[in-house]
């Protein structure tokens, strides 16, 4: 197999792909101007799109939101390191669990949100547990967990552009590549433009468009890359025939207990605040049907090619720049596809996947701050619609700035960081599930669940990732206490706290229960 990678990298490369990417980002900016002119200027439209989103837009926006940098950049990198098992860890599991959560939790929360006029997750929990305190407790925890989620996107975009532009600017940047600090600033800037102008409706439209772009582009990338590697058969045979990579074709690098306990991770979608907001945008319960059915198939279309590209890269001895497996997809695209237009298009597709998650997260942060903190504390009539939107925008800008600064610290592997973030949200899943299906859950039980989640997450995150990273001992091994994913311990602890404390404390008043539980005739 002739892979002319080194000679190709040695010379300064054309910057033409960047013009394609710039063109794509420019289109999004035009969209932001357009959305600012045509969208309704009410806070209801800005925050929940006036609850009018139809089935197709809901499917695309929910799918685009859940497919982050992890789906393209992280999955390829993890498959490069650990093999095909990564698909079973998150992709097929998510196909089962995400749809389960959409069906059991999403539809019910949509109905409750519509019935009682909720806009945010915290409004729901405050009302369900008749407690202001739970809102103030949940707000910093949810924002704190969204920040690593945002980081995943910004770091992923930086890794992609760095990989693709390697050698393009030898006189300007280190290794001739655009540094992640510039990419992060540009991506955040573009997403902020259309989100700040159009709110959740603009995010839903942009998500749908970007999801179509990254799905089509992903398939094109897969076909072109496999062609460059001599066809799919030759590409996979190279992995099998290489002694050091043949194990990537099986799942030996992944523990069985680890595989089993990964099942908890996708439960995180039940507590993502940005997904809660997308659920509330649905026109009706029936709107969810297409999302529930198509989600597993869409995941397969995106993940399977990425996993194959990851193992093919390893089998062909392609090294991750600087040992950073996040950059392997970009390197494959940048070095194997020697058409600047295609490279640019594929890079734009990867950025589309990343930005289609960032936008929803940005909007939800603003919504939560405005409704759950400012309006809640100052009173409903203290601010007019315009002022509410302005407050939301201000908070979004602040959090994006903090996240951007954190991204400059070069955080951990995207996949691993994502799993920690998802683990936190997944450990709060018992809270939302019990609030919908268990009449006996109490305010005290809910607070105990949140506190125990925060404490166990912080301890395990310190032991498993942050502590070693600060000490300069970043390990390539997964942190598996007792062979299980850390989420197992957090989930068990939060469930025990929720159930135990609820049973020991006074039940919620029947009036509250009646408000949230449906009596079916």
């Amino acid at each position: 197999m002739d892979l002319p990678l080194l000679p190709y990298l040695a010379q300064a490369r054309s910057a033409s792909p960047l013009w394609v990417v710039a063109g794509y980002l420019g289109l999004l900016l035009v969209f932001s101007v357009f959305s600012g002119r045509v969208l309704r200027r009410t806070s209801s439209d800005y925050f929940v799109a006036s609850r009018s989103i139809g089935p197709f837009l809901l499917l695309m926006s929910v799918f685009g939101t859940t497919m982050t940098a992890v789906a393209l950049v992280g999955s390829t990198g993890k498959a490069y390191d650990r093999g095909i098992g990564v698909y079973g860890l998150l992709a097929s599991t998510s196909g089962i669990v995400h749809s389960l959560v959409f069906f059991l939790v999403g539809i019910k929360l949509w109905a409750i949100g519509k019935r009682h006029g909720f806009v945010t997750q915290i409004q729901y929990f405050r009302s369900r547990f008749d407690s202001n305190g739970i809102g103030y407790l949940l707000f910093p925890i949810l924002v704190g967990l969204v920040i690593p989620y945002l980081l995943i996107g910004i770091v992923g975009a930086g890794a992609v552009i760095k990989g693709v532009t390697r050698g393009m600017f030898p006189d300007t940047f280190d290794a001739g590549a655009i540094p992640p600090s510039i990419t992060g600033a540009v991506v955040c800037g573009v997403v902020l433009c259309y989100v700040l102008v159009g709110g959740v409706r603009a995010a839903a439209w942009a998500n749908a468009a970007q999801t179509i772009v990254f799905m089509i582009v992903g398939v094109i990338a897969f076909i072109l890359i496999s062609d460059k590697l001599g066809g799919m058969k030759a590409a996979s045979e190279a992995v099998a025939n290489n002694e050091s990579t043949s194990e990537l074709l099986a799942r030996e690098p992944i523990g069985k207990l680890q595989f089993l306990t990964y099942l908890f991770i996708p439960l995180s979608v039940g507590m993502f605040p940005h997904l809660f907001q997308h659920w509330l945008t649905a026109r009706s319960a029936k709107t969810f049907r297409v999302t529930v059915i198509a989600h597993p198939i869409f995941i397969m279309v995106v993940w399977a090619p990425c996993v194959l590209i990851g193992i093919w890269a390893a089998g062909h001895g392609i090294t991750a720049p600087g040992g950073n497996s996040n950059a392997i997809l970009a390197k494959m695209v940048g070095t194997l596809l020697q058409s600047p237009f295609l490279t640019g298009l594929l890079t734009a597709g990867i950025l589309a996947a990343i930005m289609s998650s960032l936008d929803s997260q940005f909007v939800c942060l603003g919504t939560m701050f405005t409704h759950d903190i400012v309006v809640h504390a100052a009173g409903k009539d203290r601010f007019n619609d315009g002022q509410k939107v302005l407050l939301g925008r201000g908070f979004i800008l602040l959090v994006v700035l903090i996240t951007y600064l954190l991204s400059l610290l070069d955080p951990a592997n995207i996949f691993d960081l994502a799993v920690w973030c998802f683990s936190g949200f997944a450990s709060l899943f018992p809270l939302v599930f019990a609030s919908l299906y268990w009449r006996r859950v109490t305010r005290e039980g809910a607070i105990a669940c949140v506190l125990v989640t925060a404490i166990t997450w912080a301890i395990l995150f310190w032991i498993g990732l942050l502590g070693p990273a600060i000490a300069g001992e970043r390990s390539s091994e997964d942190f598996l206490p007792g062979g299980v994913m850390p989420v197992t311990i957090m989930f068990a602890a939060s469930t025990i706290a929720l159930v135990g404390v609820s049973l020991l404390t006074k039940p919620m008043s029947p009036k509250i229960i009646e408000k949230f539980f449906v009596v079916q005739d």
């Binding site: 095909i84 009682h116 799942r251 059915i293």
Partner: protein, 77 residues
């Protein structure tokens, strides 16, 4: 077959797909389907397709028909 039985069967199919997802019998199998697709990956892709079918059955036979009416009759809607 009654609606309740159909609903139970649909949920049963979801459970079977979830159990099949833990395909430990393919753990060390490195063979390639069609010459290019690792068998473990191919099986998990099949799980994704079966999940789509399972959810279609749940939507058809276990849909909460009452929920729309309940949501619409709310105090704030």
């Amino acid at each position: 077959m009654g609606a309740s039985t159909q609903s139970k069967l649909a949920w049963g199919f979801v459970a079977v797909v979830a159990i099949l997802h833990f395909d430990f019998w393919l753990w060390t199998d490195k063979s390639l389907l069609f010459g290019f697709l690792p068998v473990g990956l191919g099986f998990q892709m099949l799980i994704s397709i079966l999940a789509g079918i399972a959810w279609a059955l749940v939507i058809k036979y276990a849909w909460p028909g009452w929920i729309e009416k309940w949501a619409e009759s709310g105090e704030d809607s």
